[in-house]
């Protein structure tokens, strides 16, 4: 059977499949559906310094093969997460990736410092790209200098490897990737959502109360694949790939594009069992395309990524 193991900074994964941040809460709800031990890792919802209520509702809208969301980083705050959510995850033998967000560099640094010390947290995912936070959020993700500065500061205080999660809402994704790589990022997560809108024809206003929202789901898969491919051509950094994955075939396509592991977001909403299903069908899928391990998933003529 094909070898599913992947070893990345901080993350020894039994398989390359993990739920994406914000689409899996802190794991509790999905633990009612299946044993979380099956997962390669769990990326938890963004943590901020203080509790946040997030944006007014409606917060989601459907789009062709996708959805918009503007949750607005609702979360109980880093202290509460450490106190009530992480202990629950301790009962599983699955590395946790803590997604960190904030409105200021100081907030990112504070949250990272606190959460990275927790033993269940094996890596930090620096969410510089959440488009739903008005103050700062979007700038961190679209300006290479700011992103690099933030990465540097966070790296200084982090006990764990830092994966920077890139925003696709940029002209030049490679420039962004290089900037955070030079600033010390241990890996990249890509992509976050693309900014989009839908309008309610009856109400004559945007469907999402926040007006714009982040587009996710299969609709953005070709954009995610392109960006991962471009960054892979330019850099050797580990990449956790995501954007519209719904099947083992999709996962393999991301690995081919240059990802080292993948995360599944929106598809969890349609099928709560999607992660274990993808994991289960991954070995036969790999074999069908002639691969005997995750590490072998390379484009023709390309060597291993690490």
């Amino acid at each position: 059977m094909a070898d599913l193991r992947v070893s990345l900074p901080g993350l020894d994964l039994k398989n390359p499949i993990m739920p994406a941040s914000g689409c899996f809460g802190f794991g509790r709800e999905f633990s009612e559906f299946y044993d979380l031990n099956q997962l390669g890792a769990i990326v938890i919802k963004a943590a901020t310094g203080k509790a946040r209520y997030g944006n007014p509702t409606p917060r989601v809208a459907e789009t062709p093969s996708g959805m918009l969301n503007a949750i607005g980083l609702q979360n109980p705050g880093v202290d509460q997460i450490i106190e009530t959510e992480l202990p629950f995850l301790m009962s599983y033998d699955v590395p946790v990736v803590a997604n960190v967000a904030g409105s200021t560099v100081e907030e990112y640094v504070e949250v990272t410092e606190k959460i990275s010390r927790h033993p269940v947290v094996h890596a930090i995912e620096l969410n510089i790209s959440c488009p739903n936070v008005k103050e700062g959020g979007i700038q961190f993700g679209t300006d290479p200098k700011t992103a690099a500065y933030l990465t540097e500061k966070v790296k200084e205080v982090s006990d764990k490897p830092v994966y920077v999660k890139l925003s696709p809402n940029v002209t030049d994704i490679v420039e962004m990737a290089k900037a955070v790589a030079d600033a010390g990022a241990d890996g990249l997560s890509m992509i976050n959502t693309l900014t989009g809108m839908r309008f309610d024809l009856h109400q004559k206003r945007p469907i999402i109360a926040n007006e714009t929202g982040g587009l996710s789901g299969p609709a953005i898969k070709p954009i995610a694949l392109r960006m991962i491919y471009q960054v892979r051509q330019a850099l050797d950094l580990p990449i956790i790939g995501m954007g519209g994955i719904t099947s083992a075939e999709d996962a393999v396509e991301f690995l081919l594009a240059g990802a080292n592991a993948v995360a599944i977001g929106t598809a969890n909403f349609l099928d709560p069992y999607v992660c274990p299903k993808v994991i289960e069908s991954l070995p036969e899928t790999l074999e069908r395309y002639g691969f005997s391990s995750i590490h072998e998933c390379r484009l023709k003529g390309e060597g291993p990524h690490e």
Binding site: G22, C23, F24, G25, R28, E29, F30, E32, F33, K45, A51, Y53, G54, P56, T57, P58, R59, V60, A61, E62, P64, S65, G66, M67, N69, I71, Q74, P76, I207, G217, P218, T246, T266, A267, N268, F269, L270, P272, Y273
Partner: protein, 257 residues
């Protein structure tokens, strides 16, 4: 416990203006015991529609293993549902959420106050309540053609129908006919109606069923939150899909700013 199933469409037909009643069959029905819970239905083929549609349980027949939903055709999802034929399979996640608490209610005079497609969950609720209580139904619809299930509610107790345009029953809003001669009320319908009802019945114990656009429908994504009235509430919010859709009327803020 079973949490999802490809259920079979037994029947699917219009029962009022743009309004369909669908009967689904499957073992999953055995888990559907709480009125006010909802089913989360997959729409379309494959991954073309990434969001499921929440629809309330309108009636359950445990002997036949069938569940009924009643839905109004609004957009793409409900249009797709309306085209389903007997024998088709529809993927159902659920029942989800917490419904109306009925276990401990006996010997009470209870009002069921529904508006439009907020009426369906009240029927299954009424059936459960009528066994041991006196039930009065006050149901508002836009117009005569939109009215459904009047006879069925009448079997449960006194039933008043109102229409906005007066084309059937009384003309007016459900709040026009509400008196505080009740022990308890349960209401489901458009936000404006819920707001008016809870204000008018502010001294009566009541439960409201809320709607919100949902992402996951299982409590993981925070799409469907509403605020709590109590500023000291430890979370300050509730998830409609998981903590609700039914809440004590006094617990949640109906109109956010």
């Amino acid at each position: 416990m079973m949490k999802e199933q490809w259920m079979e469409v037994v029947s699917n037909q219009p029962i009022a203006l743009d309004t369909y009643e669908m009967t689904l069959h499957g073992e999953l029905v055995s888990t559907m015991t709480q009125p006010g819970q909802f089913l989360h239905l997959k729409i379309g083929e494959g991954f073309s529609h990434m969001l499921r549609r929440p629809l309330s349980i309108a009636d359950v027949d445990q002997d036949d293993q069938t569940v009924k939903i009643i839905y109004k055709v609004i957009g793409e999802g409900t249009k797709w549902l309306s085209q389903a034929k007997p024998g088709d399979q529809i993927h159902v996640l659920g029942p989800r959420g917490h419904g109306f608490p009925v276990e401990k209610v006996t010997g009470a005079h209870i009002y069921l106050i529904g508006g439009g497609v907020g009426v369906p969950p009240l029927y299954y609720l009424g059936k459960k309540l009528a066994e041991r209580n006196r039930v009065t139904a006050v149901l508002g619809f836009q117009t005569m053609d939109a009215v459904f299930y009047e006879d069925k509610f009448q079997e449960l107790g006194e039933t008043m129908i109102l229409t906005d345009d007066g084309s059937y029953g009384k003309r007016g809003l459900v709040t026009d006919v509400l008196e505080a001669d009740m022990d308890l009320y349960y209401t489901c319908g458009p936000l404006g109606m819920l707001h008016a009802v809870t204000r008018k019945l502010k001294d009566v114990k009541g439960y409201v069923s809320l709607e919100e656009r949902m992402g996951c429908g299982i409590g993981a994504c925070f799409a469907c939150v509403c605020k709590t009235t109590d500023p000291n509430d430890d979370r300050g919010y509730r998830k409609i899909c998981k903590d609700g859709p039914v809440f004590p009327a006094k617990e949640v803020v109906l109109w956010q700013i």
